[in-house]
Every structure is written in structure tokens, then in C-alpha cells.
């Protein structure tokens, strides 16, 4: 007998025989919890996102779409970045004012190559205000998962208010589970040493978020 059969057989016996198919799922679970917490206007939701991002030590900026290229250029310059990773579908105008050399992630580029790049700029799929979370889904403006992981500086552009939801349940609704998803709440952090929070053991140590309005 295969171990698969052994385990499934044990499960069946443990539960006292073959179980009926779970037709009762929808009625079994009491989903009396909230879809979101509190009532907020759209602006208040965006403000809450900014506040919670900052609370988890992301650096938050605001801009309208016209100011965006200047702001990105300035942030990269302030960081002294000489190279910047660019996902394939990043709107070209976002980096139109920036000086650093663009590095495009290719299928054959190695992790060691990525390790030499200083900054990365991406969009995001959705942002969750109540938790201060950005979700990346590897769409063309975000690129492969590794490009937002290896460089030490990540700039994320969030379109407000379109890409902002209040709470986790609303975020899951918008996401496609077949895509690889990365949820980011603040920069990489550890509290392993006497529970002192330290930013960055492995992921980017600096996370900058630009909340951009207008089209």
C-alpha cells in the first residue's frame, strides 16, 4: 500500500468511516466578522495606509502623477544609487527624470548580478490600509519576486485611491491566487535579539512608498 493510501485510510478510520463530501461548508462557518473595521472616507483610508506604513518604518511620500518622475529621480539621487532595477512593464515615464543606469531583469540574470544593483522601482497590485501592507503579484510593472528582494532599497508606487482597500478580506478578493504573491508590511525586520526590532536582515532595509494621485 502506498503511504498516500495509508494516511487517507488512517484519516478515514480516525473520523469513524468515510466522510460525506463537505456540502455544508458555507453553512458550517459563521463569518460574522467584519469586512473592514470602522467607517472611513476614501481620503481617510489613504491616510490610514500612510500612517500604518510609516508606523512599520516604511518612508511614505505623496505626489500627483505629474510630480512622480521628479520625486523618483530625487529619491534615487538621495540614496546615491548608480543602478536601478526596472521591471519589464514599469511605465517608462516614472523613471524619465532619473539618472541611474537601468538594469533589466532577464531570465538568465543571476542572483549575484541582482545583488550588485542598489535600488528597485515597482508598482503594486493592492495596498491594505488597516495593516499597512503592499501586495505585489508579479505583474509586468512589478516583475519577478526576486527583484524586489535582493536590492537593499525598494521604491513602490501605489496609485491612490484605486489600489487601496481597507482590510485584508477586500485585498484577497482582488488578488489572483494563481500568481505568486508577496505581501510586504514595512521593511525586512527581526526581533530575534532580545526582541529589539532591527530593520533588514535579508530583504530591502529601506522601503519607500509613493502614494500617487491623478492619472
Amino acid at each position: 500500500m502506498s503511504s498516500r493510501d495509508v494516511i487517507l485510510g488512517r484519516v478515514r478510520r480516525a473520523l469513524g468511516g468515510p466522510a460525506a463530501p463537505p456540502t455544508s461548508y458555507d453553512t458550517d462557518i459563521d463569518r460574522g466578522y467584519r469586512r473592514e473595521h470602522g467607517e472611513r472616507t476614501v481620503e481617510q483610508t489613504v491616510d490610514l495606509l500612510a500612517e500604518n506604513l510609516a508606523d512599520y518604518r516604511a518612508i511614505v511620500h505623496r505626489a500627483d502623477s505629474g510630480e512622480l518622475p521628479e520625486l523618483i529621480a530625487w529619491l534615487l539621487a538621495a540614496r546615491g544609487a548608480r543602478t536601478v532595477l526596472v521591471p519589464p512593464g514599469l511605465p517608462p515615464e516614472w523613471l524619465s527624470a532619473a539618472d541611474p543606469t537601468r538594469v533589466h531583469d532577464r531570465a538568465d540574470s543571476t542572483a549575484a548580478e541582482l545583488d550588485r544593483v542598489e535600488s528597485v522601482v515597482t508598482g503594486c497590485a493592492v495596498a491594505v490600509a488597516e495593516t499597512g501592507t503592499l501586495v505585489l503579484d508579479a505583474s509586468p510593472d512589478q516583475g519577478r519576486r526576486r527583484i524586489t528582494l535582493v536590492p537593499d532599497h525598494h521604491i513602490v508606487v501605489v496609485r491612490v485611491p484605486d489600489q487601496v482597500v481597507s482590510a485584508v478580506p477586500q485585498a484577497l478578493e482582488r488578488l489572483d491566487p494563481t500568481r505568486p504573491l508577496t505581501w510586504i508590511s514595512g521593511p525586512s525586520a527581526t526581533s530575534d535579539i532580545e526582541l529589539d526590532r532591527v530593520e533588514g536582515v535579508h530583504g530591502p532595509r529601506t522601503l519607500e512608498v509613493i502614494l500617487v494621485s491623478g492619472d
Binding site: S3, V6, I7, L8, G9, R10, V11, R12, A14, L15, P18, A19, P21, P22, S24, Y25, I29, D30, G32, Y33, R34, H37, N52, Y56, A107, A111, D115, E130, T131, G132, A138, R144, R145, R146, L149, V168, L172, P177, T178, R179, P180, L181, T182, W183, I184, S185, P187, S188, A189, T190, S191, D192, I193, E194, L195, V198, G200, V201, H202, G203
Partner: protein, 492 residues
């Protein structure tokens, strides 16, 4: 479970030694109190906490009742998404499967994300014996691994080490495994973290095989979820060419939507954050993004035996948040190592004896490693009634009875000559400093429970047979505990 902790003294002895280690106790006390207070604030932000907790409990119970269906569904969805599913009835089989999968890649090194399932089966030791080196990449696990030590907490495994100890370990050991610690390393957490970053990055960048566990597996979609803080998880999950995830069969949730419950309750219960810094979700393989080969190893290793016990089964709801550890007065004093298993604290006291059976000294004594104060139940985000299971297991130790071991029904003999009761008394003695305090503790404890017995159930029955339990006092146990500093005054 594997023999990782073979030779471990029973809980009372190990706890007694731990209590005398004042550094350990100070570290633990600081840590558990800090997280505990923060958690209360994080939970208070959600006014529907009770409903989220209830939904979490119901989802897990429903899944367990229909586990066969969801396991088969999960296998189908993972396979459809490009992954390969393997089944392991016990630790040995899981280790053999993983070893073979690593061998097939031709590699002799793997990078690992902290995972309790792989600790439970003793995977690192097994791989090492087979000539494959497994590098732990979580900062705390690195500290533990370099220190040739064992983890003591689910979430902060090196909670028992302070910064000075960590600096010494890094200076002495890092060079033996790769990039040495920088010269003149200080003991500030920032510098220590930087040393770990450099040491580990070297490993990530060349790793071809990653090994992980998972916090959740979604049957409907085949999605696996790993929740973490540091990004070492993301490194292991995305940079290698091959990913092997070793996961207990109880980690399933039926639908994508169910994650909305646990992604709200898990971070707040564990690290007391609104959301942990990183969560990775992947469904099979994705073209050109992340590992191109994905293996899921589903392990039983005592879980179906636990499922067969109608009272004890609820332990399988556990999402390993570790909130119960941080509120447990016994854990705070004894430390995680005393529990002799990868699952310490209250959850360890009910899970380990079920996964492994209660035949060894350590496992027979674990159900007594508690004051039954009920604090663990109150904080548990999936409402596991840990005290209820403890009492149930005590009864099993003392009275024997029918249990399921490796899928077969067996009848346990009662523990000989009140050995268990003696174990209980010894366990209690160190926990409460003085036997009089124990009496107070148990009396008060009963108030916070649903049962208000005249005689204690299980082994307590023999003990109380000749004594009436006094009327239940008005003061809750934990208030009493705080007021008297854990019974120091009451016992005098």
C-alpha cells in the same frame, strides 16, 4: 516524532534545572512579557476579534472533519499547478523522501526556512548524516544552529540567548560555516543582524535547493503560504531552482477566502503586529519566476492518531502563533527546552504527547506541565481548550485506555504505582515554588474553567479523593499569581 530529543529528562527534572538558570529566566521573562503586552494592544484594534476567533476555529474543525476530501483536493490542485505531491506516514519516510529529492538535484547543500515540521522530523540531522548540509537562514535559527543548541520558542527560537551570548557565538562559529563575523563585532542588535545578513547572503546567492514548511495550504487553489519577518523565507522560496516544502496534513484550509481570517489573527497573536513584514504565497510553479521544480511533502507522523481522539483532536487546529507560550506562567519559568520537543509551552504539552504517545517519561509528564490557569485558552486565536485536553491526557496517563498509535487501536495500561501522580507533584513543585502554592493555584484555576469539580478529574481524582476542594475563591488565578509573585508569598 523523531528521536531529536531522545535522552531528554522528564519535564519536572528539566524544568527544575531551567528554573535555576537565572540568565535564561530573565531573558524569557523579558521576552514573554513584552510580546504579551503588545499582543493585547494589537488584538484590541479589531473589535470583531471574538468572531474572527470563532470563524478560525470553525474553519479548522470543518477541515479536520473532512480532512480526506481536502487532502485529495489539495493534491489535485498542487499537481495541476505544476507541483509534485509526496506522502509520508512518519518522520523516517519524510526524511527519506526529502533526501532523495535533494540527491536528485545533485546538490549537497540546502537553505532552509524555519519550519517546525522539519524540526519535528529531525530533518537537518538526517540530511547531515546523508552528507547534505542544511543551513538554517532565520536569524534566530542561525543563532541556535551555530550555538549547537535547540530552539526554545516557536516564534523566537533564540529567546533564551542575550546579545552578549549571541556575539560570542557569532565570533566563534561563523567562520567555520562560511563568511566569518566581521572583526570587532559589538553586541548591538543592528551589528549582529548585519553580520548575519552578510554571512547568509553568501549562502542564498549560491543555493540551488530550498526547504521550507508552510503556515497554510489552500485546498481549493493549491496555494501555499509562508508568513515571516526577515525575508530569509522569501530568499529560500524564490532564489533556488528547486523548492521542497514539508508540511503537516493539518495545515489545510479549504478556500482562498479562509485566509482572510488567519491573516488577521496570526500576526496579531504571534508577533503582536498588524501584519508580519513578509508573506509569500505560491501556487505550484510560475514560468520564469521562482523555483521551476516544486515538491510538497505531506506528513502524518502522529497527526492521524491525534485526529482519532475526539477531545485531543482540537490540538490540530493550532496555527503555531505561540501566544499561549507567552502567557503561560509555567513556560515563563521553565523555558522551552524543558518540554523536550519542538513544540514547547502549553501547545507542546498537549501536542507532543499525542503525536508521540505518552509512553516515555517526558511525554507522560508533559500533561502535568501546567497550572490549568486557562490563560492559554483565552489567548488562543483558534480557541483550543488546552486545559481540557491536558486534563484528558492526564486521565489517559493515569487510567490508561484506548488510543490510536500509527493508525491502530491499542489499549494503554495505567501508569504504574501512581508514577504519574508523583510526576505531577514534582512538576507542580518547581512551578509554584512551594506545595502550598500549588494547592492555591489549582483551586483558583478551577474557577476559570468551565468545570467546577468537587474532586479533580484524572490523576487529581486520587489526590482529592480524601480532600474536599474548598469553595472557589473570588480572585482570578492570574491576579493572584501577580499579586503574590507566583506564589512566593503564599507558600511561606
Amino acid at each position: 516524532m523523531s528521536g531529536t530529543f531522545v535522552g531528554m529528562p522528564a519535564f519536572p527534572k528539566a524544568a527544575h534545572d531551567a528554573v535555576r538558570n537565572t540568565t535564561l529566566r530573565a531573558n524569557l521573562r523579558h521576552a514573554t512579557h513584552t510580546i504579551r503586552d503588545k499582543r493585547a494592544r494589537a488584538v484590541a484594534e479589531l473589535d470583531d476579534w471574538a468572531q474572527l476567533r470563532e470563524a478560525g476555529k470553525q474553519i479548522k474543525d470543518h477541515t479536520l472533519r473532512h480532512l480526506e476530501h481536502y487532502l485529495v483536493q489539495l493534491e489535485e490542485s498542487v499537481t495541476a499547478a505544476g507541483g509534485t505531491v509526496h506522502w509520508a506516514a512518519d518522520a523516517d519516510e519524510a526524511n527519506r523522501i526529502v533526501t532523495r529529492l535533494v540527491r536528485d538535484t545533485g546538490e549537497s547543500e540546502v537553505v532552509k526556512v524555519k519550519s517546525m515540521a522539519t524540526q519535528e522530523i529531525g530533518l537537518n540531522e538526517h540530511l547531515e548524516a546523508e552528507g547534505i548540509h542544511a543551513y538554517e537562514t532565520d536569524l534566530a535559527e542561525l543563532i541556535v544552529q551555530l550555538g549547537d543548541d535547540r530552539p526554545s520558542h516557536i516564534l523566537v527560537p533564540a529567546i533564551h540567548r542575550n546579545r552578549g551570548e549571541i556575539r560570542d557565538i557569532f565570533e566563534k562559529e561563523m567562520g567555520r560555516w562560511g563568511r566569518p563575523a566581521p572583526d570587532g563585532l559589538s553586541d548591538t542588535p543592528a551589528e549582529l543582524a548585519e553580520a548575519a545578513r552578510l554571512h547568509l547572503r553568501e549562502k542564498f546567492l549560491r543555493a540551488k535547493v530550498g526547504v521550507s514548511g508552510a503556515n497554510f495550504m489552500v485546498a481549493e487553489t493549491g496555494t501555499l503560504v509562508v508568513v515571516e519577518s526577515e525575508g530569509n523565507g522569501r530568499m529560500c522560496l524564490t532564489l533556488p531552482e528547486t523548492l521542497i516544502s514539508v508540511v503537516g496534513i493539518e495545515k489545510i484550509v479549504p478556500t482562498w477566502r479562509d485566509l482572510e481570517v488567519f491573516l488577521q489573527t496570526l500576526p496579531r497573536s504571534s508577533t503582536a503586529e498588524r501584519m508580519n513584514p513578509y508573506t509569500s504565497m505560491w501556487t505550484g510553479t510560475s514560468d520564469g519566476d521562482g523555483p521551476q521544480t516544486f515538491h510538497l511533502v505531506l506528513i502524518d507522523n502522529g497527526r492521524t492518531d491525534t485526529l482519532a481522539d475526539e477531545v485531543g483532536r482540537q490540538a490540530l487546529r493550532c496555527i503555531r502563533c505561540s501566544a499561549c507560550l507567552n502567557v503561560c506562567p509555567v513556560y515563563e519559568r521553565a523555558g522551552g527546552h524543558a518540554y523536550g520537543s519542538v513544540y514547547p509551552g502549553p501547545i507542546g504539552a498537549i501536542l507532543s504527547p499525542q503525536l508521540r504517545g505518552t509512553t516515555s517519561d517526558i511525554d507522560a509528564s508533559l500533561p502535568y506541565a501546567s497550572s490549568l490557569c486557562g490563560a492559554c485558552y483565552e489567548v488562543c486565536p483558534v480557541a483550543i481548550d488546552i486545559p481540557e485536553v491536558l486534563v484528558h491526557l492526564r486521565e489517559r496517563v493515569v487510567q490508561g485506555g484506548e488510543v490510536t498509535r500509527r493508525g491502530a487501536k491499542v489499549t494503554l495500561k495505567p501508569a504504574k504505582g501512581h508514577a504519574a501522580e508523583r510526576a505531577a507533584m514534582r512538576a507542580a513543585r518547581w512551578a509554584f515554588t512551594h506545595p502550598a502554592a500549588l494547592a492555591t493555584g489549582q483551586r483558583l484555576a478551577s474557577r476559570t474553567r468551565r468545570f467546577h469539580p468537587r474532586t479533580l478529574p484524572g490523576p487529581g481524582r486520587a489526590w482529592t479523593a480524601t480532600r474536599d476542594l474548598p469553595a472557589i475563591p473570588a480572585e482570578p488565578f492570574r491576579d493572584w499569581w501577580q499579586r503574590t509573585d507566583g506564589g512566593k508569598d503564599a507558600g511561606k
